[in-house]
Amino acid sequence: MSHYTTLRTKITDESALVQALNDMGFVPEHVECHAEPQHLVGYHGDQRPETAHVIIRRQHVGSASNDLGFVRGEDGSYQAIISEYDQRTGYGSAWLQRLQQRYAYHTTLAHLARQGFALAEERTEAGTVHMILSRRA
């Protein structure tokens, strides 16, 4: 029996988002999680109108960077708030896609572990992650 599902990743789970940010080089102590969204801070130390639930402060991003934020919308999915400057200096769409890939990886492991599945095989080829998870029949 066999069943295929294909989907485009949307970030909805805070802990898997934090794990993905850890994979992208941000240590857990530098990733703030807030129940209520907090204001982002710009590179001059100025408070920005934008708010976010998950924040990496600018000093951990780059010397002339602004805070990076992820705000949870009404549908439960997170939207990235990244300044134009930071998008040009390494935090653009390619970075976000890699983050989504790492998010999908951690979400897959966590959810399928709850169903009794464990990682049996993993390989990365040309940037694509292949995982095989198995459990006893």
Binding site: M1, K10, A104, A137
Partner: protein, 70 residues
């Protein structure tokens, strides 16, 4: 019977393909429903191979028929 096995492929663009094998009938959909929801639920494609409907599983078959009738 074949041991349940799930193959997951994640592209650099964050597109995920989940392939469930060795799970009886349409319960393979239940198995991944939570995961699909946590990944945002934006399913772009879904495909069952013929074998998924071969197992005599009256309850699942009934659901399938009702869906067709609707």
């Amino acid at each position: 019977m074949e041991a349940p096995r799930i193959e997951v492929v994640i592209s650099p663009e964050g597109v995920v393909t989940i392939h469930v094998q060795g799970v009886q009938g349409l319960s393979c959909v239940d198995l991944t429903a939570d995961l699909v929801a946590a990944l945002g639920g934006q399913v772009t494609d879904q495909e069952w191979t013929l074998e998924a409907h071969q197992t005599p599983e009256p309850f699942a078959y009934k659901i399938w028929q009702e869906k067709n009738d609707a």
